[in-house]
Amino acid sequence: MSAYSATEPSAASKWVAGTLVTLYMVITLLPLAWIISTGFKTGPDSISYPPKVIFSPSIEGYVNLFTDRTRATPEQLATMPPPENFVDEIVQRRGEVITGPSRFGERFLNSVIIGFGSTFLSIFLGTLAAYAFSRFKVPLKDDLLFFILSTRMMPPIAVAIPIFLMYRELGLSDTHLGMILLYTGVNISLAVWLLKGFIDEIPREYEEAALIDGYTRFQAFRKVVLPQAATGIASTAIFCLIFAWNEYAFAVLLTSGTAQTAPPFIPTIIGVGGQDWPAVAAGATLFLLPVMIFTILLRKHLLRGITFGAVRK
């Protein structure tokens, strides 16, 4: 038994905490692990009962995700040249031939353009607006802030019909710009409020010192406020990206071709004869990666917490 300490938790409470965290981790990661492993199963393995935990991995799901195929008769197959690579081999073994690449690549690219585009725009506009709300005398400031927040007081899908009609009239339906504007519109209230909180925490004295040191207000903003708001900007950007990246309802409603994002596309991957679960799981796995990478890249800022300032309070 270690000596009593005021700050160090007891061994028993550490065990309880550790167990709870582990349990929580298992519960949250299990579906994720299931999706990732399903992506590497064959069709029959993915729907076998009882479910297979141990299986021989296959990249069939990924092949199916990226290709369009059609069933070929044995006679047709016999006339074809021998498979050039392992992808052809996998497909031909199932009695299919590749007719071309699938749409997944471009849908994924759409998600990247729309997700990151709207995140950038939300952060850009949100930071400037938050700075202004934090530092300047804005007429009707409280009303404006409330108004901005009020756009989040109902589920966005409640305005689906008006937006659908509006977008059709404006020619924004199924365009990248339209989706970027829509997600920016939804995210900007979150961005303004979160960032205003972060900027409020940065003492004005820093900017005042910079003004006296010979900088203009915008230069002071860029050189002094922005670096210190980095933590807030990073976490806000992650929230914005996660929303725009995962958004499903509006994507289904407003996009069908050119600007369709990955979420509405992935469930439409129909295999030959039944839902192609490995391909869906492979799509979901790839779809998870960008947000995960983005979050990992910014985690330094997330973990650093609020800057410990050099201002005497």
Partner: protein
Amino acid sequence: MRGCIMAEVVLSGLTKTFGATRALSDVSMTIPDGSFVVLLGPTGAGKTTTLRLIAGLDRPDTGDIAIAGRSVRDDTPAQRDVAMVFQQYSLYPHLTVRDNLAFPLRSPVMNWPEAQIASKINEVASVLRIAHKLDNKATQLSGGEMQRVSIGRALVRNPRIYLMDEPLSSLDAKLRADLRVELKRIHAELGATFLYVTHDQIEAMTMATHVGVLDQGRLVQFGTPREIYENPVSAYVASRLGQPRINLLPAGVFGPAPSGAAQIGLRPEHVAVGEGQSATVRRVEHLGDQTRLHLTLGPHEIITLADPHTTLSPGDSLSIRPDNPLWFDASGNRI
């Protein structure tokens, strides 16, 4: 080299309110070129507001500020060419000490070559004894070091006026004494103009060429430290300077008073020992360079100075009388 730039600062009729609070009322003051003006007053008297108005961080409601004969009312802080040391240090936390010191020199207004910046920084850092901390992040410094860096950030420049808001307040006694001398030397050598806020009377007396006393946003007296000390216009001003503080007693305690006098003000040198009223010693404080006597005279308490090697002890009695004291009327004004 500067010195030839006239940097007389003239404040005329400055008034500033923040919401319902009147921070400054009709303050007029001339800060002569090359002078070292100290602003005295309790918290809330308007000292910091005065600095901020001159720096251009706040705009006066009415009144004007002229530097070197030209109104700067519409100038940005950068255009005014002033340096300011904030009470709260305000070091840029994301930068190293070196970059903090270089920050003003890299501004679009200054835009010095890097080699020149480096040599200036080394010079200032050695004066302020922070050379060994140059590559630390500003947040890794102690309070005293932060304060020195913040003074350094003003000293790397040669502005028309240095504005300093209690720059030595969080330093230890020795460093404070050293920097007092250093600032005074910079003042003398550069011929720079200083406007300096402090609560510390030694700083005020030793550094100032002029002292301005503020009370609730009004400038109540402006003059040399000697004038303020010897010839205060009111009991309030008199109590700003002098250690121990001036003793304020009802006018009649020592017998007849001038007509209209309500209070008698006794500085230690105004208390003559040997004759007059009998007082009792309550406490003797040996401070090293001085010895303070706490006396009771009837219901009143008087603090005065004694010979450092005095043999007086609590309970002893002695006779005191006022010697050329200051008289104040019922509203505290000097008679």
